[in-house]
Symmetry: C2
């Protein structure tokens, strides 16, 4: 079993550009990647695939492959063995969730994100092909059904939070205390204000 994490360091998280400049967004994306890597059991191989050479360091062994092809082509070329694809912007993952996910008994296991996304995908049948972007959760279900594969939906709130938008930052600040990405957001002035419903604020630093 190998966990593949796609990662892009060039102008990442552009939907947060009204809140963070590019330098901050790159740093933030790296922090989330770090949190995701930390949530993967040490016994499992981790491979980051990225379109550009990167300087990253982790406190465990992590493979890095530069692949300039599209996300789908890059991942499909890796489906020779059992792999799991876990997105790099899921900072609320923890080792319990990932362990449970990786131990699901099905040929295809799909963890949904909001807006029809696929946040984690476990592929145990090597004829499966991924189709990310634009409602990929439903595309992956359809592919699995059409191939007659045994599939499961992995139902998790924490793995559903891919941090793309302002409202997702609030979830990270609420639930991610102690995570590297939480510490980064806090360090640049973000915090939660509990008045009525909790809201995101940014203090100048």
């Amino acid at each position: 079993m190998k966990v593949v994490i796609p990662f892009k360091a060039k102008n990442p998280k552009s939907r947060l550009s009204h809140l963070m400049n590019e330098r901050e967004r790159v740093e933030f994306a790296k922090c989330m990647l770090f949190d995701v890597v930390c949530s993967i059991p040490k016994s499992v191989e981790v491979l980051i695939i990225t379109p550009e050479r990167l300087n990253l360091s982790f406190d465990r062994e992590v493979g890095l492959v530069v692949d300039k092809r599209s996300l789908n082509d890059a991942i499909n070329s890796l489906i020779k063995d059992e792999i799991a694809v876990i997105m790099s912007d899921l900072p609320l993952l923890n080792e319990n969730i990932v362990t449970k996910f990786l131990s699901q008994n099905a040929e295809i296991v799909i963890a949904p994100g909001r807006k029809g996304g696929t946040n984690m995908l476990l592929i145990k049948n090597k004829n499966f092909k991924v189709s990310y972007h634009y409602g990929s959760f439903f595309k992956h279900l359809k592919i699995a059904r059409e191939m007659g594969l045994k599939f499961k939906i992995f139902d998790s709130f924490y793995s559903s939070i891919d941090v793309d938008e302002e409202s997702d930052l609030l979830e990270l600040l609420l639930h991610g205390i102690g995570k590297k990405s939480w510490e980064f957001l806090t360090s640049i002035g973000f915090e939660v204000k509990f008045e009525k419903d909790p809201i995101l604020i940014k203090k100048s630093k």
Copy 2:
């Protein structure tokens, strides 16, 4: 075990008032309540608590209590036996999820919603008191910790979707095919447009 569902039919879901008039919002709220009731195993007693007399019918036995007190007071007065409190705006629940939730082995089990909400709450210790509104997930965790109770977090994407805002309607339309609330939204013109990311549109009917 009794499942308590708080429900308010007066000007419900006001954050959707730019998309639906009050009559539609009342009907929509009732449809979601119906979907929630349908997700509760037949063997479990269901009690709806509401501040006003209501005309509702279900295809199963459902108790109805009119209680004009605050939500917290009304629910706390019911914690004499083991109860579960399930919100009425969780149309993506299904019987598997509720069954799994009700069978959790802890004195307090909390299922988070976005923005720090408590979407489902299982209370097996009758000294516990609820504190809804404004980050209640964290308030309930704190109360359980301070009382030294054995608690669990119930991690579910589908139970995390409480339909309050426009973006939640999209989730219901994506994942709720066949639900009564899904049929209602569809009947008044809502649909999902898959261009890039799926977006919510409303056609005039």
